[in-house]
Symmetry: C4
Subunit: 200 residues, 4 copies
């Protein structure tokens, strides 16, 4: 398989997923004359949608930059990549979970939803760590992106930070769901910052 193929398949999955997310943002039930209030009461869904859209968008940019440097595709890389994409598709589920729990706020429910989102985000970061390690161990990366390049230095440094933020969010959920949500948002924002830096 050529490297362009795995990339265009993955790009397709990202494009579809990012567009499908909006389908989870459904019209509310409302009393005649009460459409405005019903829509405004959906702010948790809107918030979860904005955050998840940004997250998937950044993952796409990261994925794209990484696979642009791939020179050889092996069966194992396909399996690693499909597993990573699988975890990414689950974001539409954990987004809905978070939105629903926030719209009828009950502390144990919100805690569960945030922890589920954290666990998923943490797994996605791990999947990129595994992909990156496999690529550098098997010399599937282009010469200029090899183990001693600036790109590789950054790729090794970023996942531990985001994993740390998601793990903190998971633990914090048992003390305060607000602190937990802040750590989750920080993890996603960190991806954005890391992409901004890494693509200089």
């Amino acid at each position: 398989m050529k490297a362009t193929r795995i990339q265009s398949f993955s790009d397709g999955v990202f494009a579809i997923l990012i567009t499908l997310l909006v389908l989870e943002f459904k019209l509310p039930e409302y009393q005649q004359g009460g459409l405005a209030q019903a829509v405004l009461a959906q702010w948790p869904t809107m918030l979860a949608y904005v955050v998840t859209y940004a997250y998937v968008g950044i993952l796409w940019l990261f994925h794209h930059d990484l696979f642009d440097r791939v020179t050889r595709v092996t069966p194992r890389l396909n399996v690693l990549n499909l597993s990573s994409l699988f975890l990414t598709t689950l974001l539409s589920y954990s987004m809905s979970l978070l939105a629903k729990s926030l719209s009828a706020p009950d502390v144990p429910d919100v805690r569960f939803a945030v922890c589920a989102y954290d666990a998923l985000a943490l797994s996605i970061s791990l999947s990129y760590l595994f992909i990156y390690r496999y690529l550098s161990r098997t010399s599937c990366l282009s010469a200029s992106s090899g183990p001693s390049s600036g790109y590789s230095d950054r790729m090794r440094r970023y996942p531990p930070v985001s994993i740390g933020l998601y793990a903190s969010s998971f633990v914090a959920a048992f003390a305060s769901v607000y602190v937990s949500l802040a750590f989750l948002a920080a993890g996603i924002a960190y991806h954005g910052y890391a992409y901004w830096r890494s693509s200089d």
Copy 2:
């Protein structure tokens, strides 16, 4: 990232969104023998679908023409483009809002739905203005489309007009929802006219 990549990802999002819109056009509940009436009573949904399909189609043509002239992709351009696509995906929500409010017409509900659509359309026009400005300021456009070209002249002239039409629709909604809907339709039609002219 190569310019062709951001374009094919965006094309994918447009193709998916334009096809997903039809999923909002659901079968009505009906009494046996009353299918025809039930379907015909769905005209507001059909109308909102036709208008929104046309709108997304024209946005795709505009986006495509613009990114065909892009010679360099920066992280900031990716962020601007993903933000613009995010607003565009929200059209499926505001389409449903408009369709639902028109099928059980209550003036405050229709007004809210039209204003939501206007605010979204206005934001989309603004996002193109920001993208265009960024591209011309950073010389990311091909030479023949640069700041002093006929293309750029047109690109600078169009967004203010459509923004004006959507703002008028927003304001008019507080006087008459019919006038407001007419301004909204005029804004979308203007995009079609502008595309037709700009691609000569």
Copy 3:
């Protein structure tokens, strides 16, 4: 716009639509122990799905063959093509209409659903006729596919036949919905036959 772009956007819409159709094929409600009967009772949905999938698949093959011969893309061609794709996306709605009316058979309801499907199929055939005429009038077709080629001869001959079959189905619906369904199936089968011949 390059010809490959309009083709790959259209291919995307076809691929998405053909895959989305299956979403209309939903699990039935059932009593515990009665799953088999409930699923088998869904044969009208399965039938409508098979027929519509085949129809969209053939339309894609036709569209693809036609746009492979296009050498120049104009704004008007984009508008004609987006209109044709719009009608094609509506097939998922008329498929559901047909499936639902057949599962609780009431003659006026089935007649309405078949006539709606006919009207849509007829409009799609007309849209290809318009596209073909525009292409040959404006010399947007490659030399070997021009007005006097064997390809063009066939393209001129096919739409009138399929339009005739769909019109017959429409009229026949007022006498017998079975005869009407047979004409509709014949129209779709004719597309398959025509594609088979035209791509020799």
Copy 4:
């Protein structure tokens, strides 16, 4: 039609299908405070989703490898391929069937759902056998993948094994649904093993 076109259309269908599967994984109804239990009670859906995602992913890899070796596309190949993709899209339905029957376990219902999944998997394996046979009989494969190559040897050997496993699952369902599910999982796992070997 060029070979790259049928491949990119098929890749599109696979990418869309694999992403749409997650839409079947819907939020559960739950009592306030009971979100965690409600989500954990969805394990059959999660299981069916994981298995089906893996299955579609492996089918994509197989399909991709096969069509990479295709040098000529005929109308008959298009029809065979569209038929195979049709069967593949049905996996989203049989996945839901399996998930739903497992969440309210009733032996006849689960048996029906497993047998439906088996019948579909068996048909998909058959469709690849037909495609492979057609390709080798008509010399549409590249020289290095021809009838006497190692690739062809493997392609001839694999489908009978998977067909045997799915047939065993079908028969076993009448004795024990657990044994039947094990055979089904073995069939899908065998595809993974076969891909791993064939792409060496």
